[in-house]
């Protein structure tokens, strides 16, 4: 409709311009032609012609000259007379030619504009799509619009921008990766150094005790030996944690009512975190194929994180379960202060943690996510605010077990 209106307006403007052009040039050409065959001009020519004849009569010696001039003037007058007779046709032809040229010019311009528009539209569409892709974060775009006009230059700018974005993103990822590894190395070193230092101190004490003869020496030696054993045990646990992350076993799936499993979990682990109440919220029957132990491990990880988050104040952890379409959803919500925005984007990456050194390796959420991905489900941060955090576990639903 808009295009039709435009066409009508353009056609009206062109028609008006043509009418004006025709009117003006018609008057101008009429006037110009009128000068050419003006009666006064013809009268003067005829008078000159008559003069030549008279001169020839008065001066017979130059008869031929005057006769020739007479004939020339006569011919000119005759030709102008013929033109005067054809005046209307001549003017009509003249106006027609000009009008045709005008119409052809307008048509040529309109065609050029139409062709340009037709060529421009797909190029603009490509630029629009490229901008959309850029807005969505896609990088290394090839707009595929050539030309050195404005559209071409915009396309080139989009391509350059996307290349710069890609470079920056790669650089950022590399830096983040490097930073993660540095953090991981620092944490691992610290985790190992603590028990090693403890063990070394105990061994030094043991060495002193071997050389000493003080009473109670044997008991002190036994204590030192136990200390060494405890530190070695810490190292063992540390190694086990690495091992479990590196070689997570495949889940042994069984048909489980997740709501019932959560009930058992609350009953068993409800009091595991002092000062934190673990309770079961909405819970209808929701059957899924899960590895009980692994799901329990995930829940422990999440509750452990929540308990740490609400540390120092009365806290609650609520477990809700439901089924949406073909997925079973478990929500683990706490009333903690929310996830630190600094780590939110890489929350499920290994070693991503806000805890201080010696308070954990930051592998819990990474292991939990891996477990749920292995189940065909997922673990996501559903909500995080100063009023609390909610993690959402999704698991593929299965038909309920028939008794």
């Amino acid at each position: 409709m808009h295009r039709l209106t435009t066409v009508v307006i353009v056609a009206a403007v062109v028609t008006a311009a043509a009418a004006l052009f025709q009117a003006v040039q018609s008057r101008l050409s009429d006037a110009a032609f009128a000068f050419t065959v003006h009666p006064d001009v013809l009268a003067q020519l005829e008078a000159s012609r008559a003069d030549q004849r008279e001169l020839a009569r008065l001066n017979p010696e130059r008869h031929d000259l005057y006769r020739a001039r007479f004939d020339t003037l006569a011919t000119t007058v005759q030709r102008l007379t013929v033109l005067a007779h054809a005046r209307e046709r001549l003017l009509s032809r003249y106006n027609t030619i000009l009008l045709v040229v005008f119409a052809a010019s307008v048509l040529a311009v309109a065609s050029a504009i139409a062709i340009r528009q037709a060529r421009l539209q797909p190029r603009l569409a490509r630029v629009r799509d490229a901008l959309g892709a850029l807005a969505k974060g896609q990088t290394d775009l090839a707009v595929g619009v050539g030309g050195r006009d404005v559209v071409g230059r915009i396309a080139t700018m989009i391509e350059e921008t996307s290349r710069v974005m890609a470079r920056d993103r790669q650089r950022l990822a590399a830096l983040q990766n490097l930073s993660s590894w540095q953090e991981a190395a620092r944490r691992q070193a610290h985790e190992m150094r603590t028990p090693l230092t403890g063990a070394r101190l105990e061994l030094a004490r043991l060495h002193d005790l071997l050389e000493a003869t003080a009473p109670g020496r044997e008991e002190a030696m036994r204590q030192a030996a136990r200390g060494v054993e405890q530190e070695l045990e810490r190292l063992h646990r540390l190694a086990a944690e690495f091992s479990s992350f590196a070689r997570l076993p495949s889940p042994r799936l069984e048909r489980v009512d997740v709501a019932a499993l959560l009930g058992e979990f609350v009953a068993t682990y409800g009091g595991a975190w002092p000062g934190v109440e673990v309770r079961l919220g909405l819970a209808g029957p929701a059957w899924a194929a899960v590895d009980r132990d692994m799901l329990r491990q995930v829940l422990v990880n999440l509750c452990d994180n929540s308990a740490r988050a609400v540390a120092g104040r009365p806290g609650t952890i609520e477990l809700d379960v439901g089924a949406v379409n073909d997925m079973v959803t478990v929500k683990v919500s706490d009333n903690g202060p929310g996830v630190d925005p600094a780590v939110r984007d890489r929350l499920f990456e290994p070693y991503a943690t806000t805890r201080g050194l010696g308070e954990g390796m930051g592998l819990g959420l990474a292991i939990s996510k891996k477990i749920l991905l292995d189940h065909g489900g997922d673990l996501e941060l559903a909500d995080s605010s100063p009023r609390g955090t909610t993690f959402r576990i999704t698991l593929p639903a299965v038909a309920r077990e028939t008794p």
Binding site: R53, A74, Q78, R79, V82, A86, R89, Y94
Partner: protein, 211 residues
Amino acid sequence: MKGVVLIALTLASVCSAARAVPPPKVAIDAEQRLVVGRLAAILDEEAVARQLESGLTTTFVFRVEVAGRVLGGARVDVRYDLWDEVFEVVVVGADGRGERVTLAGRTALATWWSGVEFVVAEQRPRSTPWPRELVLAVEVVPFSVSEQDDAQRWFVRSFGESAARTDRQVTDPAERRGDSLEKVLGVLMATSIQGSALYSARWVVTVAGGR
């Protein structure tokens, strides 16, 4: 209904023309040919009278028709020689014979014109005699074809004069294209220089000596 209106309009126009100028005489001569005479009134028409001494050839074209079918025609060319101040008249009848007459002045032309008779249609077979009534049409053209051609050529030449005025060598292709364009435009314009009738009339006349 449309046909009736058309016929009425045609008759009205014929009658008005007839009222303006007395019709010439159309008669059958001894050789059973159609002959036209008594043409004086045509020469007295203002547009015709004004044109006669222009130096151009004024052509009178006569045509006889019956029910839209042309039976024959004739042509009279009148050209005033401006130097000698005489009229040179050529009559070409339907019999193909041309008569050339030189007349010294307007009076002589008028006298000759009022008495001239010429054949407009050749003899017919006895089985198809001349109708009692027919249409005589006349058209007066202000210049001849050769004069028209001459004016056209002159016009085309004048279009190209802007280029011809200078003797310089034209080397610029754009300028050459401009010359060609002028020629094309000149021809386009010149072809519109054509003679249209100065005067025309049609009469329904009774054939003298016919059935």
